[in-house]
Amino acid sequence: MATPPRSNTGATVSRRAALKSLAVLAAGVGAACTPLRMAFRWAPGGFDDDQALVDRVLRGFATAVVPGLSVDDPNLVRHFYDDDYPLAKFRGYLASDLCQESVNRFGTPAFDQLPLAQRTKIIEGKLAKGGVTRRLYRGAVYLTQIACYAGIYDPDRGCPLIDFDGRRRNTSVADSTYPMPHRFLSHEITSDGNPL
């Protein structure tokens, strides 16, 4: 017969109490694994080796964050590969986490194949979580919006989705204003624009 475990105080504890303690410990380790896995950039399921898979999943993510973008846009997920930004270290983990959640919620690992509404649900659920998970997803949403709307990788093109036409070499003042501007102007209280 096994010796009953002892608590820190030396008192004998029941088997049930010991199992309960272990469960709490396991949960703690499980929770701690998220940052741990992120710290070591460990992504299960072959994500570290399969760049095409990671790319597909991240494209599914980006088109859920900014619906309307073309999934084939060459710059769509470039920010996840850009070492100037922190997410480059975590793209494998992010992709594997999205697929795992896809399994949990919808029974398939193919996150990128899910309809927009289901991909949105998954991201929404991750943003609603606490701690590191929320930080990771919030950062990924934030950087995806910046990269796409500001057209950071293609200054000539900008972002057609929001009519941002990027770099302008051939501009005219006439395009930027209205004819007969006095229709718009209110009364002025200064003679030269300087406050009194």
């Binding site: 619906p67 500001a150 770099r167 003042v173 406050p195």
Partner: protein, 537 residues
């Protein structure tokens, strides 16, 4: 370590540094300008891009929970990247008082005193009021809103010649139309004999001889040493020995340098790093109603051309429209339609719906106000600093009332409000009311006594003759308008005093004097790329 001796060492190369660099060189003194940011050739280095890596090369930030500031680290300081708005501070600004009723500006400094120096700054930067036919669409729509409500609205003054309305003022004007310091003061200073050293960071200041008999600069010994480190290559270290030391590294940079030097400058005022004013920037956004014409966030100069002083007397605020480019809009705030209960609303399809309307149908209003100087920069040792804002009930009331006014203007014009939740650099929300600005001033403010400020009305640091602060750090209060022209004019005034004192060995000038004739403006445009920086060559 190399040692270089000079008559005047100017730390920084922005609006507070350019006048002493130019005027002292013109007067025949040996002048060296030390800039920690990179050199810029305004004709080849600027880009029309929203790439954060390009922008972060020049623009830096510092954030606390309640206050974040943006500033430039580059040759020319913020002048390469600002919106060119060049306005004089309202007279009312100079009568601001602290909570005990004491004036925040030193006695004698007011708009009347500064006006002749503003004239010089205006000429140097070729400042002009925008013509009605050049006002961008968003500015015209803002003016129409004010007109509908019977509020006055002014056409703003800008430092620009031949603007082509490309909309990228804030990433640097690729056409050379912006009259930044890179096309006037700095090249003229170099032409007059000043040397500009870039990528060189001032680390500490030491006193060599604190009190010497006043007289012409030629008769004065070297009084200060500044230890610098190159930020590029082999991190070369240089020791500068100087007779005059002029600190103009910006509100944050100047305070940092003095705080890092406190062990050597033991008689410094305890006010260093305190009393940072932040121009009470409050923002609001909305979608225009159908009956309004389109604005345009992306075309036309970065500032929309119009500003209202209607509430200056009653509330101490000015109101203008703003035209953030996509990066500035998305990186700074989560936008969502007010009352939109859909989840998610700051990303996904609802957010795209909103962003599709951003360019032509969104109006962003910004109020600047005379909020008290409650910001504090604290030195935590090493290279660590904290930026804090003492939140007070009056400040919360100011924010709430100003936001309410902006919303009222938008709503009475039939707009639908857009919630703007400002976020940190990782996209997280701020835990409390948050102010952000690039108009921060006052960390080493001018004052009538050492107990209340860091330098006197002449810009000279209390207890340290020959050590001056001539930049935004010296400006004691919020200005309720963009700060660049006032910093420049005040730097002209401080330089005027330095010249009067050290060229002839005379006494410090009283506040009430006319600018010396030698300060006449020479608004010729000089190409920087024709001039070689000279130190150590």
């Amino acid at each position: 370590m190399r040692t270089i001796k000079t008559d005047a060492l100017v730390i920084g190369s922005g609006f507070g540094a350019a006048p002493p660099a130019l005027r002292l060189a013109q007067a025949g003194f040996r002048v060296i300008v030390v800039e920690q940011g990179p050199a810029i050739n305004p004709y080849t280095d600027f880009k029309q891009t929203q790439d954060p890596q390009y922008i972060l090369k020049y623009l830096k930030g510092m954030s606390g929970d309640r206050l974040s500031v943006t500033y430039a680290e580059a040759m020319g300081g913020g002048s390469g990247f600002y919106e060119m708005v060049s306005l004089r501070a309202p007279s009312k600004v100079f009568s601001q008082v602290d909570d005990r009723g004491r004036g925040l500006w030193p006695r004698g400094i007011d708009r009347v005193l500064l006006d002749p120096y503003y004239d010089i700054a205006d000429e140097m930067l070729r400042v002009e009021q925008i013509a009605p036919e050049l006002v961008p669409k968003s500015g015209l729509v803002f003016s129409l809103m004010m007109k509908n409500l019977g509020y006055s609205c002014e056409r703003v003054r800008y430092a620009v010649q031949g603007c082509l309305a490309s909309g990228f003022c804030v990433t640097g004007c690729v056409y050379g139309a912006k009259q930044s310091l890179l096309v006037n003061y700095l090249p003229q200073a170099v032409k007059a004999g000043a040397a500009i050293e870039t990528d060189l960071e001032a680390l500490t200041v030491q006193v060599v001889r604190r009190f010497v008999k006043d007289g012409p600069l030629n008769d004065i010994p070297y009084r200060y040493e500044v230890y610098c480190r190159r930020r590029t290559g082999r991190r070369e270290r240089i020791r500068f020995c100087t007779k005059l030391l002029i600190l103009a590294g910006g509100t944050i940079g100047t305070a940092k340098l003095l705080l890092q030097s406190r062990e050597n400058l033991t008689s410094l005022s305890t006010q260093v790093g305190r009393n940072i004013a932040f121009n009470g920037s409050v923002k609001a956004a909305a979608l225009l109603p159908d009956h309004f014409p389109d604005g345009d966030m992306f075309a036309g100069r970065s500032h929309p051309g119009m500003m209202s002083y209607h509430f200056l007397e009653s509330r101490g605020i000015t109101i203008s429209a703003a035209k953030p480019l996509p990066l500035q809009a998305v990186a700074a705030a989560r936008l969502r339609l007010d009352g939109d209960t859909r989840t998610p609303s700051f990303w996904g399809a609802p957010h795209v719906e909103l962003m599709r309307q951003y360019r032509r149908r969104m109006m962003v209003l910004v109020a600047f106000g005379m909020t008290p100087p409650l910001g504090v920069l604290e030195f935590r040792g090493g290279l660590a600093f904290d930026l804090q804002l003492k939140m007070t009930d009056p400040l919360r009331r100011y924010f709430r009332d100003t936001k309410r006014l902006l919303h009222s203007i938008l709503l009475r014009n039939g707009c639908r409000l857009v919630d703007t939740e400002f976020v940190k650099h990782d996209g997280a929300s701020y835990p409390d009311l948050h102010f952000s600005t690039s108009h921060h001033v006052g960390s080493c403010r001018m004052a009538d006594s050492k107990a209340r400020g860091v330098c006197n009305a002449a810009g000279e640091v209390f207890s340290y003759p020959g050590l001056y602060v001539s930049d935004g750090a010296a400006i004691p209060t919020s200005l309720a308008v963009n700060t660049s022209l006032t910093i420049l004019a005040n730097a002209e005034r401080i330089t005027d005093g330095i010249l009067r004192r050290y060229r002839t060995g005379g006494e410090p000038v009283s506040a009430r004097t006319e600018p010396a004739a030698s300060l006449s403006a020479t608004p010729e445009t000089t190409r920087y790329d024709s001039i070689e920086p000279a130190v150590g060559k």
